[in-house]
Structures are given as C-alpha cells and as structure tokens.
C-alpha cells in the first residue's frame, strides 16, 4: 500500500509540475479566483444603481396627498398630468402610473420589472402612512386617543443591520461562485486525465510496473489540487474584499460582516469533499473519453448541472430532507447555512459522506477502465 501511495505521489508531482509550467492555466486559475468576486460585486452594484434611477412615476390628476406620497420616493422621477390638456409625451423606460379614483387611489405597475414593482410598493406604503396620519389627527380632534384603536395599523420594521445584509449577500454568492469556479477549473484540468491519451504518452506509463490505481490516484489528486486552489483563491478574494470594507452600490456588502473561523472551516470542508466528487467525475470522464473534445461532450452538461444545483443556495428557505442526498445541492445549502450562522454541521457531514461514496464509485470505474486495453485502443 505504501508503494501505491509513493507512486501516486510521483504521478501527482509530475502533473503539478506540468500544470505549473502551463502559464496560461496558472494565470486562469489565479485571476479567475481572485478577480471574479470583486468584478461581480461591481457589476451587481452598478446594475442596481442604474435600475433605481430610471423609473418614472406618472401621476394622473393627483391630489395633494398623492403628490406628497410621490415626493417621498427615492430614486424615481415624478411626472404629473393635470387638467385634461394635450398629453405630453411619456418618457421611454420603466414607469408606473398612479391616480385618484372614486373610492381611493389606483396604482398600475408591471410586476415583471422588480425595480418598478418595488417603487410601486413604496408609493403604496407612503399613501397608507399618509392616510393613517389623517385618521390619527381626526381622532385627536374628536378627543379620542389614537391608542384606543390600536392596533389599527401594522408596521413591519427591518431589524437587519449592515452586518446582516453583508452575511445575506455572502451566503448567496460564496456557495454559488465557489461551486462554479471549482467545477470549471476541474474541467480545465480534464487534460490531466485525457491529455496523455491524446498526446501518446500514456502507453509509456502503462508499460511500467506502476499499479493502475496509483496512476488514477495521482491524477485525481492533481485535478483536485487545481479545483481546490481556484476555489480557495475565490474565498481569499471574498475575505479580502470584506476585510477591506469595500462598499459597492446597493449590493449590501459593506464590510460589516466577518465570518468566523468555524464558518470558514465549514465552507472549506464542503469545498474539499465537493472537490473529491468533481475530481472523481472528471477522472471518470477523462478516462472514458479519447480526446479533450470528446470529454467536452460530458463536462459541459456536468457544469450546467452543477450551476443548476448551486442556484438553490439563492433561496433562504429550508429544503426537504431528501435534498441532503443530492450531491452539490447539499454542499451549496450547507455553505449557505454556515455563512448565515445556521448550524450546518449535519449537512456538511452528509455531503461529505455522499461525496466520498460517489467519488469511490467513480474512481473505481476509472481504475477498471485503466485495466482494460480499451484505455488505449479501440477494440
């Protein structure tokens, strides 16, 4: 067994040496890992700012109360139409309409545009607040304390602070980006498995006394190293971003949140076992395929599947128990919960168990393929 490990280590070191001499690949891993997060945050921030500024609120025959309420809106321009005169042209871009009806106010907005919808909700809230104030004043004039009628209004208070909002953003972005970066870099390392066949170097390795399991193990470790290094750099980029206290637009990440060591340990544990699973899948695909192009027929759907499963980390809700058996999804949810300081030890342990089991099956399949002559020849 010690011999197997030593030879696997030699194969691993060979692959790492080859990777380190591939400058483009190293640049891709380092830049992809460190730059992706700040870049995305900048993009999200700038999109948010532009979206808020461009909504127009068109008021038809407004009364004083509607004008007051519209005046409280932030990030929206207000246009008033009165008197039944010739209509002025409406501006292009997203807008909503409001007016005074026979039994109250009316608002028209498209829910398909979340920014327009949020402005409409803000206007609705301002109108309700204004109406409540009028009622309160009328009660006071009649000598009735407004508190006698309470609760006649319900106020929803936002109890979050900047730290909570940072945590919410990180809880969405860390699992999603880490999984995508991990899988895409592992795919980039497919050539570790398939390249030797394509470049006619594998036969020389197979005629040595190195056990097939050592060859597969060494190469798998190299694929894992590429995948883990990229996702580690991503997390480093996020931590640095957070530690520097950078604030971009309305993204909510303003540096108030510092995940603890335990939380990062849980994220790292999830990424480690996930890298096992992904490296196993890449090895199985790379062993089965004859060329990098052929491997692409399988790795592209793998990436899409992982992106699809990682998207579930966007949802803050709890998922049914059976989702713990779905690889990648369970890792995404465990990382989300770890960052939100929800206990995630059970999910992490289940994910580790599932990933190790699937890894063992995939590597077993790769070793079996390596033992057949079809690894080199079409027979």
């Amino acid at each position: 067994m010690a011999g197997v490990r030593n030879k696997a280590w030699l194969i691993f070191m060979k692959e790492i040496r080859v990777i380190l001499r591939d400058r483009r690949m190293v640049m891709g891993i380092v830049l992809g890992g460190l730059v992706v997060f700040p870049l995305l945050m900048a993009l999200i921030g700038s999109l948010g700012e532009d979206g808020d500024a461009s909504v127009t609120v068109v008021l038809y025959e407004p009364d004083a109360e509607l004008l007051r309420a519209a005046g409280t809106l932030e990030g929206a321009s207000v246009m008033s139409r009165q008197g039944g005169g010739p209509d002025l042209p409406l501006p292009d871009g997203p807008r909503l309409s409001a007016g005074v009806g026979t039994d109250g106010y009316w608002l028209e907005a498209s829910r398909a545009n979340p920014v327009v919808w949020s402005v409409a909700r803000a206007l609705e809230e301002a109108l309700v607040d204004g109406r409540s104030e009028v009622v309160r004043r009328r009660l006071e004039l009649r000598g009735v304390p407004p508190s006698d009628l309470e609760p006649y209004s319900i106020r929803l208070l936002d109890t979050s602070d900047s730290r909570d909002r940072s945590a919410a953003v990180l809880a969405v972005l860390v699992p999603y980006l880490a999984i995508i970066i991990l899988v895409s870099n592992a795919i980039r390392a497919t050539y570790i498995a398939v390249g030797e066949k394509e470049k006619n170097t594998l036969a020389s390795l197979l005629v040595t006394s190195v056990p097939r399991s050592s060859i597969v193990l060494g190469k798998t470790l190299a694929v894992m190293a590429v995948a883990v290094s990229a996702s580690t750099l991503l997390v480093v980029g996020m931590v640095a971003f957070s530690a520097l206290g950078l604030s971009i637009g309305e993204s909510g990440l303003d540096g108030g949140y510092r995940p603890g060591v335990g939380q990062f340990a849980l994220v790292a544990a999830n990424l480690s076992t996930l890298s096992l699973l992904v490296a196993g899948a890449i090895m199985a695909i790379g062993t089965f395929a004859r060329t990098q192009r052929e491997a692409g027929y399988f790795t592209a759907p793998l990436l899409f599947l992982c992106i699809f499963l990682a998207v579930f980390s966007f949802s803050p809700r709890a998922f049914p128990l059976w989702t713990n058996a779905v690889p990648v999804l369970v890792n995404a949810l465990a990382m989300r919960d770890a960052i939100l300081t929800v206990p995630a030890g059970r999910e992490t342990a289940l994910a580790a168990l599932g990933n190790v089991l699937v890894f063992a099956v995939l590597i077993g399949a790769a070793v079996r393929m390596y033992r057949k002559e079809s690894i080199l020849f079409r027979t």
Partner: protein, 244 residues
C-alpha cells in the same frame, strides 16, 4: 527470452466484421538475441508487440517474457521490459532528464543509479546538449532519443521496439541502430519490428516475416537465403508475402 505460443488476437470491426490480427503466432527470441519482425502494414507486428508489452490481452495462446506470462503476471513482466514505439511521445513540458528521473523513480530505482543511467545513455545517444530542455522545444530526433532514454533508464533485460527509426533522419536512425547493437552486446534481448529491411539485415540475429497474423518464414538471414534460394532480404520478403 521472448516466446509467443499460438498467439491470437481477434478484433471486431463494423466495416470488416471479424478481423484476426494474430492467427497463431509462434516465435522464440533467445536471451541476448536481436529478433527482427518484418511484415507489410496490417500483418500483425504492432499487435504482437502490444501484447508482449502488456498493453493488449491476447484472444488466445500466450506470450512469455523470461518465462513469465504476460496474461498471468503482467506487472512482473513490466518490471523486465523497456518499450519504444514510433507512436509514443515524451512529456512536452518535462525535460529528458526529468522524464527519465520520473520513470526511474517509478521503477523504485535509487537516485544514484538513475543519475548514472541517464549519464551513460545520454553520452551514447549524444543527448548532453538538450538534456535539460523541455521536450516541446526539441526536434523529432531529439524527442525519439528522449523516448529511448525513458525506456532504457530502468535497465530492462528485454527490449521491445516498434519501428524505432520511423520518421528519423539518417544520422539519428544510425545512432539508434548502433545503440540496439550495443544493447545486444550487453546481453539484452531485443525484439523489434521494422519496415526498413537493411536494418533487419544489419542488426538481427533472427528474422521473422509475419503475414496475415502468422509467421510466413523465420530463421537467421543465412537460413532464409538457404531455404528460399534468394540472396537479398527484399526478394525473400516479397516472395514470402506474395506467396502468403
């Protein structure tokens, strides 16, 4: 010593159906001999060498390297052989020295022995100037020498060469054939396939002409001349292949 006994290999092809690449190949190459395997394209030379080097399993019969069966104990066979094929390439991003060191370590050699073997072989093959250059920067001949160094660094007792001089210029090809002769003088057993008949004439102690998966003729050059009445190996080769 290399032996094949009634060696068979059958492939299934969609277009051609059942193909018998080897159809009962039986040959013997004694210890310290150089054996040349001649034959037209598709005769079964490469398939025979792939079975001997444990990369393929036979459909029937067996092959032995120093008395060890390639089907029963492939890992033990791999400890004895060095394989050079015109198809194989060195690792592009490693230097010849790094490649040879890796293969020496994979064969559990001591570092000092690896360094000594690299020194000896690179001297003989005139590789000193490019021993520390990445293979991707080397010429075809230099790469083929790197493949030789990789196969020989472990000091194997049995060497299998599949068209070792294919694609090489005259000078490099001569260097390779000289080296095979030296290996024979050192007591190694060498089996090589080739299309170049003069290589077989110059190097081989025994020559086997393989056609349609079986031996059409075998013996020393003198044996072949005596049996066929022809003096030139090219005439002997054409006679036997056309007859087959």
């Amino acid at each position: 010593m290399i032996e094949t006994r009634d060696l068979r290999k059958t492939f299934r092809s969609r277009s051609r159906g059942r193909v018998d690449a080897l159809d009962g190949l039986t040959l013997t190459c004694e210890r310290g001999q150089v054996y040349a395997l001649l034959g037209p394209n598709g005769a079964g030379k490469t398939t025979a060498l792939r079975i001997l080097s444990t990369l393929m399993t036979p459909s029937g019969g067996d092959a032995l390297i120093d008395g060890i069966s390639v089907t029963a104990e492939p890992e033990a066979v791999r400890r004895k052989i060095g394989v050079v094929s015109y198809e194989t390439r060195p690792y592009d991003r490693l230097t010849p020295r790094e490649t040879a060191t890796l293969f020496g370590r994979l064969s559990d050699m001591e570092e000092a022995d690896i360094a000594r073997m690299i020194g000896e072989i690179s001297d003989l093959l005139e590789m000193k100037d490019f021993l520390d250059e990445p293979a991707e920067d080397l010429s075809t001949g230099m790469k083929q020498k790197t493949v030789l160094l990789r196969a020989l660094v472990t000091n194997p007792t049995v060497l299998l060469f599949d068209e070792p001089s294919a694609g090489l210029d005259v000078l490099t090809a001569k260097r390779v054939t000289d080296y095979i002769r030296l290996l024979r003088d050192q007591g190694r057993t060498v089996l090589f396939s080739t299309h170049v008949l003069w290589e077989a004439e110059r190097l081989a102690d025994r020559i086997g002409i393989i056609h349609r998966g079986r031996l059409a003729e075998e013996g020393t050059l003198e044996d072949l001349r005596r049996r066929t009445g022809a003096t030139d190996l090219e005439d002997i080769f054409f006679d036997r292949v056309m007859e087959g």
